[in-house]
């Protein structure tokens, strides 16, 4: 199979998972969630094969343009969904996370995103491309989990559900924050130092990564030190994810800088 047919198969399976998840939600059949998860796992297998094939044929890490990095980000969110959604009685994030995944994959497949694997410009030829981008996007995938849990928190009806969602959002940040720190900030600095001779240049992408990091630092400090929980915490987590999204997306299109790879 070619990369694009594998990618299309993954897309179809994700859509199927989405439909099953929402059917489970509306029919109030929690057991159907399992089927949604299984479809997502099979979709992830195809998706992984597509990414591997692209890496093999282009000879470089599959995150060098918007199409590739959207594909990897959605892959990472499915991984996070599987990690956080496999426990029975876990809060039901599946439908909404899958909605984000399908939206990202659809955006990646849209004609807006050039799919050609262009040869790498000199600055990107480094194993730090793997380390920097993959770890950062994995961290952002867990921020997406915290985001969905926080949105659901604001909409939740019962205290028991709320408590579970609040704890879940915190656990997702506890995974995402160290990953984002390592991949986005530290690996980014190391690579910048090797490629450009300076570890920090106040480039808009760098500053927005720092802003994202500050927002999640606020999330942690207001919880731990000031005892914020629940609604206020959820709002900070939502703002944090939106900052991460802007760092990932908005900076490329709206602000010019060293990181303008689209």
């Amino acid at each position: 199979m070619t990369e694009s047919s594998l990618f299309t198969a993954a897309f179809a399976l994700y859509v199927a998972a989405l439909i099953v998840y929402f059917a489970a939600l509306f029919a109030r059949r929690e057991k159907w969630d399992r089927a949604g998860l299984i479809l997502a796992v099979i979709g992830l297998c195809f998706h992984t094969a597509a990414l591997a094939l692209r890496t093999g044929s282009s000879g470089h890490a599959p995150f060098t343009n918007m199409y590739e990095s959207l594909s990897f980000l959605s892959w990472a969110i499915v991984v996070a969904l599987i990690i956080f959604g496999r426990k029975p009685r876990a809060a039901r994030l599946g439908p909404y996370l899958m909605l984000i995944v399908v939206a990202l994959v659809a955006l990646a497949s849209s004609p807006l995103m050039p799919k050609g694997a262009a040869p790498l410009v000199p600055a990107l030829q480094s194993y730090w491309l793997w380390l920097h981008v993959s770890v950062t996007l994995l961290g952002e995938a867990f921020f997406a989990v915290a985001f969905v849990a926080s949105i659901l928190y604001l909409a939740a009806g019962t205290d028991e559900k709320r408590e579970r969602l609040d704890a879940l959002a915190y656990r997702a940040v506890a995974v995402g924050f160290p990953l984002f720190t390592l991949g986005g900030l530290i690996f980014g600095m190391v690579w910048a130092y090797r490629a450009w001779g300076r570890y920090w240049a106040w480039d808009p992408k760098e500053v927005w990564s720092l802003i994202t990091w500050f927002v999640f630092a606020l999330y942690l400090h207001t919880r731990i030190v000031m005892g914020w929980k629940g609604k206020r915490s959820a709002i900070v987590a939502i703002v944090g994810f939106l900052a991460a999204l802007f760092t990932y997306f908005g900076v490329n299109y709206l602000l010019a800088g060293l990181h303008s790879y689209t």
Binding site: P119, P178, T181, Y199, V207, H221
Partner: protein, 452 residues
Amino acid sequence: MRPFMRFFSSVKLAIVLLILITLASILGTLIPQGRGAAEYAARYGSLSGFFSALQLTRLYQSPWYLGLLLLFALNIAVCSVIRIGAKWRKAFGPAEAADAPGLMASKVRSRFRLALPLAAAGDRVAAILRGRRYRVSRSASGASVVLLARKKRLGGLGSDVVHLGLLVILAGGFTSGLTGRRSDLAMREGETVDVPRAGFSLRLDKFDTEYYPQGGVKDWKSTVSVIENGAPVLTRVVEVNHPLVHRGVSFYQSSYGYDWTSPRLGLEVRKPADASFSRSVVLRPGERAEVGDPDVSRISVRGFVPDFILGEGNKVQTRSQEPRNPAALVEAWKGEERVFSGWVFAKYPDFGQGHGGQGPSPLTIVLKTYEAAQYSVLEAARDPGANIIWLGSLLLMAGLFLAFYWPSREIRVVLEEAQGRVEVTAAGRAAKSREAFQAEFDRIFDEARRPS
């Protein structure tokens, strides 16, 4: 506590500073940084003066932004210093006094009796705790024994390690800003330049641009030799992502270009009237060559530009340093009579043919080749802050790991002799994953309670 310390030890101050730094940083990404005054005037009109007065156009180097960062650093330092003593004692210090009623107030607790002598009961509980990898310290007073069992003790200090890492990173940043030096070294092939303040020189042996088959630059490679006391001591290829580091100075492939002051130009002279006539000469600007033909005795090049454009007042200029529209100003003479004069274009051979002394020239001159020496620009950087940054990053990650994934656990046990038996009261506390801790706690005291 003095007011100064009280002010800087407040976590609320930290949160206010975080928010202020975040907002300021956002502002700095919305206003392009470090551009010329004219660009700001065009972009923001009357606001531009206001922006530059507030240093919003060089925000990240401005005293007020750096001042916020310094305040933040001071805040983190004071917060950490004030709290570290108590935290350290809690993790590593000796056991504090504990009494059974106090322990019973804890959420995670257990109480039972053992039919053993006091010392033996203490040994038994301590052994089980050690079996679960707790470090146990024991104190006895009269008819009671107190055990303090702790594990993953560093976990409690995780946030302090994170904060120390942040302080080290900030210190590294300020060190870079104050003591870092960088300069561009432009070298033609074969040229040697002194590295500023380094005590050695660098020679560019070779410069190559590699292209992909589809076009597009694959790599820039500068082969350079380090020259010390007049002798080469090492030769290395510097390319993007592969800097050369020598005696604390790093050299990065930063830019490249052509030296158009003295290109080798290949010219072909033809006569429209005589199709069989063709002479080629190779000249540099300012040189002339004898052709030795009855109609054209010599030819000279008066000037060259790589990217020809007519500027103001029809003055010839070059638009860039790339050979996009190479053009040479050529003259040809027949004895003392000028028979050709004008610009010839490599990419447009039929355009702009020169004039003779009177009327059109009897010659056609074509610019066939143009070769210039390439030069490579290496950035020489000495940045003593970088290693401090890596140290801070290491601390930051170690601290995050400790804070999130190395949760400290503490169990206190009071054993009291009562009516020939021993009353055991235990209470526990975990920094995180309390469910898992509760399970461990229950297993420990189920085992202790079971008759052996």
